[in-house]
């Protein structure tokens, strides 16, 4: 069976090689919606042709309008975005969801203050709307007010504790602000919520390693190992992490742990070199010299 990621990639290649029939575009937009990926350029470029297509059912038509609108705003293609927005506004005049798109249009033009005022107005109408609260966080982050973004996001998480995306965003914001302890807490939360997602383990390990200290580094090695395990040894980022963590443990002073002598570091460096030899033979020599036993 072909994986969904592969299907998406095939459709993407077809579009980039000049395919422009509405069937392919429709399938592509569906995959993008389903896998929740950011392909704004392709979506806005080709999606605009699909807006009036007869292929779309009533429900999908408006989903596509919303999708193309966001993608167009992401690429600063304001003409297409305004076109979508007008149609959506005519169809759903009182909808908060359309209101959110209007706010995003303000954001795309750099009118942050106006966008915030607009979101406040929408929140007064429906105070429990999660999407609007998230936009407020995004506005603050986009302007560089990370502290305010953290505040807003904490407020949001007080009422929507099970939102995995929000925890991930908060973790990243804390890392940006060098607040590693708090970030570690967020990533712990994420690991319990989605233990099969290797990126959560990896980020948690990176935070632990960055914090430093014997215990944290030893723990980070465990989480790097979990990430390597989950990726089947295909992720260079996880392997490099494991290798640096084991090297750091070797250099630690103070009481030794029996686990410190594990061969994980050597295995990681071997796998790193193997991956480079397979994917980029020109650089394999340099990497080999770098990760060689120190």
């Amino acid at each position: 069976m072909v994986s969904k990621t592969q299907t998406l990639k095939d459709l993407e290649d077809a579009l980039e090689n000049g395919a422009s029939d509405t069937g392919t575009i429709q399938k592509f937009l569906r995959m993008v919606r389903e896998l929740r990926v950011r392909r704004s350029e392709l979506v806005s470029q080709h999606g605009a042709k699909l807006l009036n297509s007869r292929l779309l059912g009533e429900e999908e038509r408006w989903l596509v309008h919303e999708q193309v609108c966001v993608a167009a705003l992401d690429c600063q293609d304001l003409e297409v975005a305004v076109q979508c927005l007008k149609k959506l506004k005519a169809k759903f005049p009182t909808s908060i969801r359309v209101g959110r798109l209007r706010g995003m249009a303000l954001e795309a033009q750099g009118k942050w203050e106006e966008a915030l005022v607009h979101y406040e107005k929408l929140l007064a109408e429906s105070p429990a709307n999660a999407n609007i609260m998230k936009r407020k966080v995004a506005v603050e982050r986009a302007r560089g007010n990370t502290h305010k973004a953290i505040e807003a996001l904490n407020e949001y998480l007080d009422s929507f504790m099970s939102d995995v995306d929000a925890w991930a965003e908060l973790g990243d914001l804390y890392v940006e602000n060098l607040m590693y302890k708090q970030a570690a807490f967020c990533f712990e939360e994420l690991i319990t919520a989605a233990p099969h997602n290797y990126l959560n383990h990896l980020k948690y390990a990176e935070v632990l390693y960055t914090m430093g200290g014997a215990e944290n580094v030893r723990n980070s090695r465990k989480y790097f190992s979990a990430a390597v395990d989950l990726t089947g040894g295909d992720s260079l980022r996880a392997l490099y992490g494991l290798w640096t963590a084991t090297s750091a443990i070797k250099a630690l002073k103070g009481p030794k742990d029996p686990e410190d002598e594990s061969p994980l570091g050597d295995l990681a460096s071997k796998q790193i070199v193997a991956l480079y030899k397979a994917g980029c033979p020109a650089k394999a020599k340099i990497v080999e010299a770098c990760v060689e036993d120190r």
Partner: protein
């Protein structure tokens, strides 16, 4: 894979069928004697257990080698896993790029 697992599964099912058959017979007998039914006899229980074990073993042998449970997320790159559509930021370097022309 030899014929043994198939035979195991088959005989397991045969055991189970025979156990069902003998239970029905036993109940009929009890009805004729006018005794209350309060559980199956020990032989039938033994047949059930043996049949289940034989089916289980045969099925496991026939299904081939067991694979480790693996996360399917590792064909997705970190950028993809880390993208959160609800928090999408519109303030990025794309603003400075020339707009793409649509033919």
């Amino acid at each position: 894979m030899g014929p043994l697992p198939k035979f195991g599964t088959f005989s397991g099912f045969a055991f189970l069928c025979y156990a069902a058959y003998s239970t029905v017979n036993y109940r009929n007998e009890l009805k004729m004697k006018g005794v209350e039914f309060d559980g199956v006899p020990f032989e039938v229980l033994l047949q059930c257990i043996l049949g289940t074990i034989a089916c289980l073993w045969g099925g496991l042998q026939m299904s081939g080698e067991l694979l480790p449970i693996k996360s399917e997320m590792n064909d997705q790159c970190p950028e993809q896993l880390d993208f959160r559509g609800d928090f999408i930021s519109l303030n990025h370097r794309g603003i400075c790029l020339p707009p793409k022309s649509i033919e």
